[in-house]
């Protein structure tokens, strides 16, 4: 059951991710990315990360990607034009080597087959656990992050104001 779930959503995620890369229109890419994020949310649930799964959907899919879609609509961006040099020649081989090495190392060295994931094998990812860790061990990063967000809001407002002038 776990394996089936994993396979379904892994395949969905990979297909959507490939779609992100190959689609020429940004809005198709954006929707594919939402698909990736949705499948990842399910995989998070499988890994016992309930809160992160919900946050993934709310924050990533529900807020960040909506913002992307919004901007794409606002700019009425069309399909991209093919001009400038292509980086397929140096990029693709490097990428394949990169992926191959990563996969090889992961399989061969870091995590042998014996380490497995079962649904329910880890239950420490509920909102209570996250909250406890967030407001004790990670209090300082949390506060710093809120300042970062404040700065980002101000930055976005400033950037957006400029164009009104």
């Amino acid at each position: 059951m776990d394996v089936i779930l994993f396979l379904i959503f892994a395949v969905v995620a990979v297909v959507c991710a490939i779609n992100v890369v190959v689609q020429t229109h940004p809005i198709s890419s954006a929707l594919s990315l939402v698909g990736v994020m949705g499948s990842l949310a399910v995989l998070y649930l499988l890994l016992g990360a309930e809160f992160i799964a919900a946050a993934q959907v709310i924050v990533y899919a529900g807020a960040i990607m909506v913002l992307f879609v919004f901007v794409i609509m606002l700019l009425n961006a069309g399909a991209e034009t093919k001009k400038g040099r292509s980086y397929l020649i140096p990029g693709a081989p490097l990428l394949i080597v990169f992926l191959g090495l990563m996969a090889y190392y992961v399989q061969r060295y870091l995590f042998p087959e014996s380490a497995v994931v079962r649904f329910g094998g880890f239950t420490g990812g509920g909102p209570k656990d996250i909250g406890n860790a967030l407001f004790t061990t990670y209090l300082l990063p949390f506060e710093v992050t809120s300042i970062l967000i404040l700065v980002a809001i101000i930055g976005a407002v400033v950037l957006a104001r400029k164009e009104i002038e």
Partner: protein, 397 residues
């Protein structure tokens, strides 16, 4: 027996029941709304199809299904088709975690009147409702029509903006109940009206409830926040280019969302299926009394010779109501019918509020709408959350 006990089988049954009831409700909600608005405006409303227009929804569905399904040539086809599907599925998805009543025994099976209980149920609903934006935004964009696009943009901006005060308003009662599971949320409000979160100490969540309701109106694109479909500016907004069943999907999505937020308000603030006062004070008799009064009233009006058109229907209705009043007295069904009655009554009251507001209030201007949430609603919700958390921290040692 083994089949009945299996988790999947029971869930399937429950899903089927809930879906059937929900879809019927959706169809009839439309009829109810037309009736309510008509009566507010002192006219009879749908009256021709069936007694008191009761078959009107059926006629509507038939009409929509048989209409030509127009596919404009200039649209972005995949997204154009995806949008209504997204809208309706996201709207229906949230129902799955809403509890309608307590644990009941139906024959040999003991089960909750809820499809499934997540311990992050509230977050789930927030997540799903935030995904609902896509349906509208994509519909607006894929239509390749300026009215639709503006409607879609307005809608997404509005929904993102109102999600913030809404989330903050939801967070406050959660602090009091100290859980994210909708089932436990209701359980924590047992014991009468003063244990409901709207009146519960240490800080009654009345402000929170009002903010939630205002945000809910905006989230569902209802009057007075229905700018995405303001017909005098934008024709029909994001669904200008949609017809037939796809148009109906958006319509159903809107009503399904209304039901969801009303149910959420009931669960979060109004104690879900809990009765407002103890059984000892006659809580179990309330539905009987209400239906009895309704039945008697119907009979009385039916006997009035001036109402010629209703001389058959009203007495029939009266008798049906009286029978229902009697059913509520049966001890076998009371255990599940009473919670269901309270849940439906509270949700229905809020739905009535939606319709009432639609019949009476004018529409906001767009900048007022945005200014209202960012400059007023959001700070107030923030303040309310702060006060609540301080008081909760104060009172819990």
């Amino acid at each position: 027996m083994e089949l009945l006990d299996s988790f999947i089988f029971i869930t399937l049954i429950k899903a089927a029941v809930v879906l059937a009831v929900l879809l019927t409700t959706l169809a009839y909600l439309q009829w109810v709304e037309r009736k309510v608005i008509a009566h507010v405006q002192v006219r009879p409303g749908p009256y021709r199809v069936g007694p008191h227009g009761l078959l009107q929804p059926v006629a509507d569905i038939v009409k929509l299904l048989t209409k030509e399904d127009l596919l404009p040539p200039y649209v972005n086809k995949p997204l154009y088709l995806l949008a209504p599907f997204l809208a309706i599925s996201m709207a229906l998805l949230s129902i799955s975690v809403i509890p309608f009543g307590p644990e009941i025994k139906v024959g040999p099976v003991t089960t909750w009147m809820q499809l499934t209980d997540l311990n992050i149920g509230v977050l789930f609903i927030l997540a799903v409702s935030s995904m609902g934006v896509y349906g509208i935004a994509l519909a607006g964009w894929a239509s390749n029509n300026k009215y639709a696009l503006i409607g879609g943009l307005r809608s997404s901006a509005q929904m993102i903006s109102y999600e913030l005060p809404m989330s903050l308003a939801i967070a406050a009662p959660l602090l009091i109940s100290n859980t994210l599971s909708l089932r436990e949320l209701v359980m924590s409000q047992a014991g009468g009206i003063f244990h409901w979160n709207i009146l519960h100490g240490p800080f009654p969540q009345i402000i929170s409830f009002i903010i939630f309701m205002i945000a809910a109106f905006a989230e569902t694109n209802r009057v007075p926040f229905d700018l995405p479909e303001a017909e005098n500016e934008l024709v029909a907004g994001f669904h200008t280019e949609y017809s037939s069943m796809k148009f109906a999907s958006f319509f159903m999505a809107e009503y399904a969302n209304m039901i969801t937020v009303s149910a959420m308000a009931t669960l979060l603030f109004l104690g879900g299926w809990m009765a407002p006062w103890p059984v000892a004070w006659g809580a179990n008799l309330v539905p009987t009394v209400i239906f009895a009064i309704a039945g008697v009233t119907a009979l009385y009006h039916g006997a009035n010779p001036a109402r010629k058109r209703d001389k058959l229907t009203l007495p029939v209705f009266g008798i049906i109501f009286l029978i229902i009043a009697g059913v509520f007295l049966l001890p076998i069904v009371q255990s599940w019918l009473l919670p269901l009655f309270w849940f439906a009554a509270k949700t229905g009251a809020i739905l009535f509020l939606f319709m009432w507001v639609r019949a009476t209030l004018p529409r906001f201007r767009y900048d007022q709408l945005m200014g209202f949430t960012w400059k007023f609603l959001f700070p107030v919700a923030m303040l309310n959350l702060l006060v609540t958390s301080f008081l909760v921290a104060w009172t819990t040692k």
